[in-house]
């Protein structure tokens, strides 16, 4: 009976991992700005989810739990590095991501660099809202609970982020669209 319970949990987690991993990675990547760092963070978060699966499985939004854990891990790793990395007052998370992952930069990626670059320029909280609302497709309420902010604040962040992205991407869109 116990073994069947363990097998069932393993199966549930495997299904969760396979169905959620890409969305979680994209959400974290959108937030931290670096692909390989995001993958490390998400892997660690999923491992913690498995370590606490009985609790995480009952969470109203397990994907959000994973993304939040990944982002918290990023903060934790950045704080550990802060002793070695000089900081000139810019956004600390972006700085740490760039400093830690400069050697990891994947120049052979086929990704469109314009959008990730535009996302990296957003303030941290706006990036996180975009990550959860867009890449995890969470509703406003769940996003608010995950980030520990009010739903109205989520809406405001999303609105400002969208406006900024529209302005930032407009020029790129025009350049890629042949004039009629």
């Amino acid at each position: 009976m116990r073994k069947r319970g363990v097998e069932q949990e393993s199966g549930e987690f495997a299904e969760f991992y396979l169905s959620s991993r890409d969305g979680c990675l994209r959400a974290v990547y959108a937030s931290v700005g670096d692909r390989l760092l995001a993958e490390d963070l998400v892997a660690e978060a999923f491992a913690r989810a498995w370590a606490s699966w009985r609790k995480v499985a009952r969470h109203p939004a397990p994907q959000a739990w994973v993304v939040r854990t990944a982002l918290n891990t990023h903060v934790s790793w950045w704080r550990r590095r802060r002793r070695e990395v000089t900081w000139d007052g810019r956004d600390a998370a972006s700085d740490a991501a760039s400093a830690v992952t400069a050697a990891y930069e994947d120049t052979d990626t086929l990704l469109d660099e314009q959008v990730p670059a535009a996302l990296r320029e957003l303030p941290t909280r706006q990036r996180e809202v975009i990550a959860l609302r867009v890449f995890l497709d969470l509703d406003t309420e769940t996003t608010a609970r995950t980030l520990g902010i009010a739903p109205g604040t989520v809406t405001a962040h999303l609105s400002r982020a969208t406006a900024t992205l529209r302005g930032r991407l407009a020029l790129s869109i025009e350049q890629e669209t042949p004039s009629s």
């Binding site: 393993s10 987690f13 495997a14 991992y17 396979l18 991993r21 890409d22 979680c24 990675l25 994209r26 990547y29 959108a30 692909r35 993958e39 998400v42 892997a43 660690e44 999923f46 491992a47 913690r48 989810a49 498995w50 370590a51 606490s52 699966w53 990626t109 086929l110 990704l111 469109d112 314009q114 959008v115 990730p116 996302l119 975009i130 609302r133 867009v134 890449f135 609105s159 969208t162 992205l165 529209r166 302005g167 930032r168 991407l169 407009a170 020029l171 869109i173 025009e174 669209t177």
Partner: protein
């Protein structure tokens, strides 16, 4: 900047689509192995433990018993492999970042612990209430040893094998303290070389 006529939904769909080629490559086995290691650290086992990290000048002065002192290689640094061992008395797990997390719950099987640590790339001498004359205690202990926790379910510490100087040995000694209660003390030191036993 000019207006492309895109509404908010269009912009967000563009953003979402831009990362459509991003996929998580880590195999699930790697994820669950790491999760098992994390879960093991939280396993609750009866007993009380305390950690004492010895400084640069160290000396253990306890009766010799149950010690194991075979280095992995004459040159000090062992060939390592990923290790995941969970016994009632202790656990050794290699983490994704190549550090090794050791949990000690009971005073048992020091020789086997030494062997498992050697396999994990941590040359060590493990003593239970033993007595050795130390080699020089090294200041790199602070880099080699991190994340040390003493809890009811055991003493947990993480070792960074790559930070151990060539030829160095991690000395792990655990014994009951003479405080009148059932308290296990784990004393850890980084030695420059294999210590000589007491005569």
């Amino acid at each position: 900047m000019s207006d492309t006529g895109m509404n908010d939904t269009d912009i967000l769909e563009l953003v979402q689509g831009s990362l459509g080629g991003v996929h998580m490559q880590r195999p699930i086995g790697e994820i669950t192995a790491r999760g098992r290691g994390l879960r093991t650290r939280r396993r609750s086992i009866a007993g009380v433990a305390a950690v004492g990290v010895l400084g640069a000048s160290t000396a253990l002065a306890l009766p010799l018993s149950g010690s194991s002192a075979q280095p992995v290689s004459a040159h000090g640094q062992a060939q390592s492999r990923s290790v995941n061992v969970d016994l009632a008395a202790w656990s050794v797990h290699t983490n994704a970042d190549a550090t090794v997390t050791i949990t000690i719950r009971e005073l048992r099987d020091p020789n086997k612990l030494r062997q498992v640590l050697a396999e994990a790339g941590v040359p060590a001498i493990v003593t239970v209430g033993g007595c050795v004359r130390n080699g020089d205690g090294l200041p790199q202990i602070g880099i080699v040893l991190n994340h040390t926790v003493s809890k009811l379910d055991g003493t947990i510490f993480t070792v960074k094998p790559s930070a151990m100087p060539p030829g160095s040995v991690l000395s792990i000694a655990y014994y009951d303290t003479l405080s009148g209660g059932h308290t296990m003390t784990t004393a850890i030191a980084l030695l420059a070389h294999m210590p000589t036993p007491c005569s």
